[in-house]
Subunit: 456 residues, 2 copies
């Protein structure tokens, strides 16, 4: 398919130990955390600098070799799988926090920094980079996928924190996008175009991220409802009330069941909402807590457990952070496929019901970021059993098509990768053609992460 | 320059009374609220629908006629001035609120809706579209310029509220961008590319906007400092404290002087901060108020006036909303040029000092959105006196260049229009070339709002 890379020539760009075509290295870069079929790259390289990335891309383009950027490999839709082989640029050696600028609420980082490490460093200055996909993702990967997570109902997604980018374009040119002002109305927002483009239009090597102050105090609520629509109605009422939730998570009854089984808990196995609020004054949080309780009771809550302060928050939220691992442990022989549709809030309850019905015959768990209308249907099955897996794929299709009927999206936060290619034309209609034309204009030989967004 | 339009042909697209080349109509569409030289269009049209806009654009492109979208004409940098004549598409008849969707925290609007009218309607449902440029701008104009205002320190700019767009592309094709989910990681973010592009890449005809719940309770603070850097330091300390200010405005001493003179007030004529906070519990706000007071005193505040509730907020903030008009009334014979640079927060104080020094010999007033690092230098002078005006222009140049030295932006919220063209290459460096290429790719004949972003 592509010419084998000339390692000797590559080793004039990077020193020897940062270029590898060793089988175990290639294997490690052939798959992410998804079930998607692996594909081996021809070579893996570990640059230290933007200049090196530029030279590597120039080399690759000279040889018409595909180039795929690689963060931590934690994505869930095959986003960095090098389906056409070629060069994988591994950013794990570009993991420098270049400068924390507390007075500007900004940080400059290389793309390979792990966001959890970043937040550890930032906490010393009372600062936070809010998007939180959960896994130990790199900033570059998060920008590539426009990652988000539990707190995005309050803080938004990665795109809301990208101020400046250094980007290597197809061909190898380096460009700088954005500025350090907290707002700007100058020029085309190319940084927003690159963010979420999964390395198909440009490779992000450095970023300046906007930060927020760490929350001072916490209030958390765990509440259960007899039916999903009551939980959803409570979400809506709370968001409407003038309160500002920091997180609003939904767990279906069978998720709670797995948590009980896996961790020896005795939680009530009903549709559950986990909520978190930030505040300054304890008295203020206490009044908010009371109000949230009223709203939950009005919407038929069966039980409410709540508390103020960091410890209470940990106690009430701990189960949420264990969900993914508990489900995996509960089915050690199976692989996960995590659906990730998002719909307008008014459709959340219907979407959850439809999803449950659709996966009824499968081993599946529903949870999600209810405040964002984002649902994860976590199916455990065997991708190597074609007959069974066909059913999983068909359920995905039905659920995505329903989400699109509801004017939602095929992916709230996991990105398109390989897994969602087929839904791009349905979701984007005429603008899909414009996206294709844009890609062909910037990368006519289709060398930047080929096979993502658009099928080969 | 361009062929005169054939009104008869145009009147087959729109009925007669929605096509005009009458002198007074052309004159009304030859200037915005800036001092920039007016330019007459050849014809003004008032479509009702996206389909009509598409047909008008097709007609214009067939005749190689420039097309400029027109909202309310309230912009400040000549953004909608039809410098090459041609067709102005006036959106004031496309002012329908298509659907308020309270349960989704969304509204669908035509581009010609005035945002203040929209917020009046939304308030019935307890909802708010937060960006607030001040003037009676249309949603289309706000999207074109990525408008923002006083509350953007809390809520961000227009770009943060654009969920879906209907856009007419150069040539006349209609595309739909985005979806109704509160978050999405699907496809290229073309809506973000269109937002802030000032009608040079596409014309927005309809939009779905994200909304927030109206704040429940208010706390406001007006405080003065002996020196600007103390005011700035207070801004920084408050933002760092875990509080979430909704607005943080700076007024220089001479602005307060004009307010006193114009409105018969007796405010202390010192650097002044106006702040606003939203909250749920009165007790919570009271504690926050106390904490803000402490921070201000630690930073040398001379006076603090503060209060809780909507009335107190109006009392304390009233002067801010009068600033623009008071300055204008104070110099009835002169015209305003409002500079609009934004810099990283750590540079705000230096930037204010430098700006004051630079405009020392001019009639100028400094105020701005301190929480965003955005400074407005409001110069009153006579654009028809070339010698004097050259000094104003030179001051603009020096102030913008300093902001760019500080890694800021030449415009925080007013956009590029005509006035900031010359700074685009300086601000954007190599990416300016990419912006030019992008424009040429999408609009090879340069017919959509020519002369903006890139000089003719």
């Amino acid at each position: 398919m592509t010419k084998k890379p000339n390692l000797r020539e590559l080793k004039t760009i990077l020193d020897e130990r940062r270029v590898s075509a060793g089988p175990s290295v290639l294997e490690l870069h052939s798959h992410d955390e998804s079930f998607h079929a692996p594909a081996l790259p021809d070579v893996v390289v570990w640059p230290y600098t933007t200049q090196e990335v530029s030279r590597l891309v120039r080399y690759a383009f000279k040889h018409k070799m595909p180039v795929t950027a690689w963060g931590a490999g934690t994505s869930l839709e095959g986003n960095p799988i090098p389906v056409k082989g070629g060069m994988v640029i591994d950013f794990t050696q570009m993991n420098r926090i270049i400068a924390v600028r507390p007075e500007d609420f900004q940080v400059d980082v290389q793309a390979g920094v792990i966001y959890k490490d970043l937040n550890k460093t930032l906490s010393r200055d009372g600062l936070l980079f809010p998007p939180d996909p959960g896994a130990a993702a790199t900033i570059g990967g998060m920008i590539g996928n426009n990652a988000s997570g539990i707190r995005s109902v309050r803080y938004g997604a990665t795109k809301d924190y990208v101020m400046r980018l250094v980007v290597v374009l197809p061909g190898g040119d380096i460009i700088h996008l954005g500025n350090r002002a907290r707002k700007s109305a100058s020029g085309y927002n190319l940084a927003a175009l690159i963010t979420g483009s999964e390395g198909t239009l440009g490779i992000v090597t450095e970023a300046t991220l906007k930060l927020v102050g760490l929350p001072v105090n916490f209030m958390a609520v765990r509440t259960t409802f007899p039916a999903i629509f009551q939980a959803t109605q409570a979400v809506y009422s709370i968001m409407r009330s003038g309160l500002t939730p920091a997180a609003m998570e939904f767990l279906d009854a069978n998720v709670v069941h797995v948590l009980n089984a896996d961790r020896g808990l005795t939680l009530e196995e009903n549709p559950t909402l986990l909520m978190e609020f930030y505040g300054f004054s304890e008295q203020g949080l206490r009044e908010e807590m009371q109000f949230v309780e009223e709203i939950c009771l009005e919407n038929g809550a069966l039980s409410i457990d709540q508390g103020i302060g960091a410890e209470e928050r940990s106690r009430l939220w701990d189960i949420r952070h264990q969900t993914y691992e508990s489900i995996k442990r509960h089915h050690p022989e199976l692989s996960p496929l995590i659906m990730d549709v998002a719909v307008p809030l008014s459709r959340y309850s219907e979407m959850v019901d439809f999803s449950k019905e659709t996966v009824r015959a499968l081993t599946a768990y529903l949870f999600g970021h209810a405040g964002d209308g984002n649902i994860h249907v976590h199916v455990m099955d065997n991708p190597h059993d074609p007959k069974r897996w066909a059913k999983v794929e068909e359920a995905t299709r039905l659920i995505v098509m329903k989400a699109l009927d509801f004017e939602g999206t095929c992916t709230g936060e996991h990105g398109i990768g390989i897994g969602k290619n087929r839904f791009m034309p349905v979701e984007h209609g005429e603008s899909y053609e414009l996206m294709k034309r844009l890609k062909a204009w910037l990368d006519p030989d289709n060398l930047f992460n080929p096979g993502k967004f658009f099928p080969l």
